[in-house]
């Protein structure tokens, strides 16, 4: 992948993280997370602009207008997703307790959001996410980690989980119990 493709991928991955974070911020009425969504929106805006400029430059150099056009169209769609995510986060920033039905809907979805604090004796402790393979073991994908007062948003497979971390995850309903048991140390990794 070249630089433009790397940036495109970054916007795509970030747009998904933003949607997950936005729904999480609503579920927990959490302004810190909502704020992060707003900041990520600015970040993806900048990336989008630079992708679009680069695509046009290339088209001027090689005359391949269609390719630039497809790239620009795709970034617009991705930006649409990012905007929608910040629209969701905005509801939290407004300082009005979100309607109780919103929480129920998020909890009733096929894809749910859950949270658990990692205990000292948990199999997740002191392991990178790629090492414990939490996602493939439980179906739960870590969206954010709260460590003391700080958040790590969109951790990757190299992020090490520490005892006391609170994980915010997204995944299938039937993965929730195992995830919570893993975090508390009541269940062990296979």
């Amino acid at each position: 992948m070249d630089e433009l493709e790397q940036k495109l991928l970054e916007v795509k991955d970030t747009s998904e993280l933003m949607v997950d974070l936005a729904y999480s911020s609503l579920l927990y009425n959490n302004r810190d997370i909502a704020q992060e969504v707003m900041e990520l929106e600015e970040y993806t805006d900048e990336l989008t602009t630079s992708i679009q400029q680069e695509a046009i430059k290339r088209a001027m150099a090689d005359g391949d207008v269609s390719r630039a056009f497809v790239t620009i169209k795709l970034t617009e769609s991705l930006e649409g997703i990012c905007d929608a995510a910040s629209g969701i986060a905005e509801v939290v920033m407004r300082n009005i307790e979100p309607h109780p039905v919103i929480k129920m809907s998020i909890r009733e979805s096929e894809v749910i959001i859950a949270t658990a604090t990692v205990a000292e004796g948990s199999d997740l402790t002191d392991k990178a996410l790629g090492e414990s393979r939490l996602a493939s073991q439980s179906g739960m994908w870590v969206v954010a980690i709260k460590r003391d007062r700080r958040y790590i948003y969109g951790p990757d497979e190299g992020t090490t989980v520490l005892a006391g971390d609170t994980l915010i995850v997204r995944g299938p309903r039937d993965g929730e119990d195992f995830f919570k048991d893993l975090a508390s140390g009541h269940a062990k990794l296979a």
């Binding site: 992948m1 493709e5 495109l8 991928l9 795509k12 991955d13 998904e16 949607v19 936005a22 729904y23 609503l26 269609s66 390719r67 056009f69 497809v70 790239t71 169209k73 795709l74 617009e76 769609s77 991705l78 649409g80 997703i81 905007d83 929608a84 995510a85 629209g87 969701i88 905005e90 509801v91 407004r94 009005i96 307790e97 979100p98 309607h99 039905v101 919103i102 129920m104 809907s105 998020i106 009733e108 979805s109 096929e110 894809v111 790629g130 393979r133 996602a135 493939s136 073991q137 439980s138 179906g139 739960m140 994908w141 990757d156 497979e157 995944g171 299938p172 039937d174 993965g175 195992f178």
Partner: protein, 212 residues
Amino acid sequence: MESHLGPEEGKEKVPRTVREILTEMKDTSEVIVDLAYAALVFDSQDMAEEVQHIERRMDTLLYNIRIKAMLSARTKRDAEQLAGLLQVASSAEAISNAAGDIVNLLRYDSDKRPFLPIVLKEAEEKIKSLNLADGSDMVNRTIEDLGVESETGMRIIALKRGKRWIYDPETNNKLKAGDILIVRGTENGFEVLRAFATGERRWPQYPVREGA
């Protein structure tokens, strides 16, 4: 009481309550983006049409939730909270619009977008396909009953049986040998699922869970 249907009234029923509509819209906003990317990766017009179809349903849902929300406001506080709820619903609909725009890219010759599948295959959560073999013990069971996602981390977003596509295939569909599964998740999860799908590994047995 029969629900009021929107201008795009279809055969499919619109759920009755604000809560049910919002839940469906939230679920849809997630699955539709996966389907849109899958349509690009596999250059599939069928999947693109499904995305357009779902997108039209989202329009109907948005129209209906607006009406229901307005009818349920009694106080200023209700109205403020419902305004936020409708903003969430609109955002879910905006996401599905974006998915509709993404599949519109299929109109352009594939040599103009060769980089798209490459980019999408490098994403953190990848979209891939695999074949369900005769010897796999996933055969004759439903995805829900197996708990595929909680077992492997892979979400099955669609499956192809013969010439037919089945979307959002979680329930009521027993998997059959020869099914092509379109899945989303990590590389590692894909390897785990592939071992089950080829029959290389047996699907684990658990004691019956409470409520299962």
